[in-house]
Symmetry: C2
Subunit: 219 residues, 2 copies
Amino acid sequence: MEFAEYLPVWSKLTQAQQEQIAQVVEFRSVRKGTRIHDSSEDCLGLVMVRSGQLRTYILSEDGREITISRLFEYDVSLLSASCVMPDMQFNVMIEAEKDTEFWSIPACLFKNLVDESLVVSTFANSLISGYLSELMWLMEQIMWKSFDKRLADFLLEEMAIEGSSSLKITHEKIAAHMGTAREVVTRMLRYFQSEGMVKLTRGTIEITAPDALEALCGK
Amino acid sequence: MEFAEYLPVWSKLTQAQQEQIAQVVEFRSVRKGTRIHDSSEDCLGLVMVRSGQLRTYILSEDGREITISRLFEYDVSLLSASCVMPDMQFNVMIEAEKDTEFWSIPACLFKNLVDESLVVSTFANSLISGYLSELMWLMEQIMWKSFDKRLADFLLEEMAIEGSSSLKITHEKIAAHMGTAREVVTRMLRYFQSEGMVKLTRGTIEITAPDALEALCGK
């Protein structure tokens, strides 16, 4: 039961609860680009990431996006179970940003555990508080941080995630992450290029002066 | 113990827990404009509103604000206890928008109850999920809704809260609520006036055509 290692509260559950989970936990392996959770589909449940990278985002009626959070190995997502949580009145989408392996605990079972177990309720509390903190941070960024700083931040984060200064990401994709238009991203990237901070080639952004980007973010 | 009526989980607590709360619960009556919670001060704890109106907001380093939520009679605020919740990594301010009476349960006691009682943990979960939903909604508004629609929404909400179409609120104050600059608010209000939707006089905004504002919001 390898998944047990990916569920932080596992060792604090009763044997009966562990058995309930073990009977229904599902393992899936998906390709980069797969949408694994969609507000309009069935509720996925609690997701535990074994490998790869997932992105949680909200989607406007006319197809605009903004990234809410990203999940890596050992991360757990409760937003994919929001449909069974009565006070979570929102819809999110989750897609694989890389080939990804994950387990899911069905939403209804997870909801029962939250309702009956203080340990699981506390765990859920901690996850939801974490989302709230991320969202407060994101709101502050969007409201009060100029776009050049946000974009510099994003490029540095991508560089850290990819472990490479050569980023294979389209301007369109960056715009979706940041909730803005492609033209806005392209214009700012060209400005960064003119300042010698990046080099743009087809499909690739080469970060040539990470120090300058950091200075721009005030780091 | 009138406050018991204002704490939704009261009847589900043990007698010992009820006594613990009754011993330390504080009642306060504050004037309009009082800041009752400040991230840099001591942690206020769980707030239960008896009468009046409170506003929870975040504040940027250079003094800009945006309203996160508003509390009315019988509302409970957990954000004022965020300082003891380890996964709540953010600061909020709370101020009285009207003369307000409220009780507070000290943060540390509340934290102990959340940690030891499934009932209180579930209650906290529900509150935090509610904030998350509000913040998701607010984020969508800010990202994807044009400012004229947001402002029309705000004026209609104020009209409902005040029970009057004559709003005594400054453009400055509206700007703080909405996280924008005063000039932006003034410009849009003048446009609304030119369209016959509002009438502006010193210190007052008279809503003359609520139907037109509703139509603007798409209601």
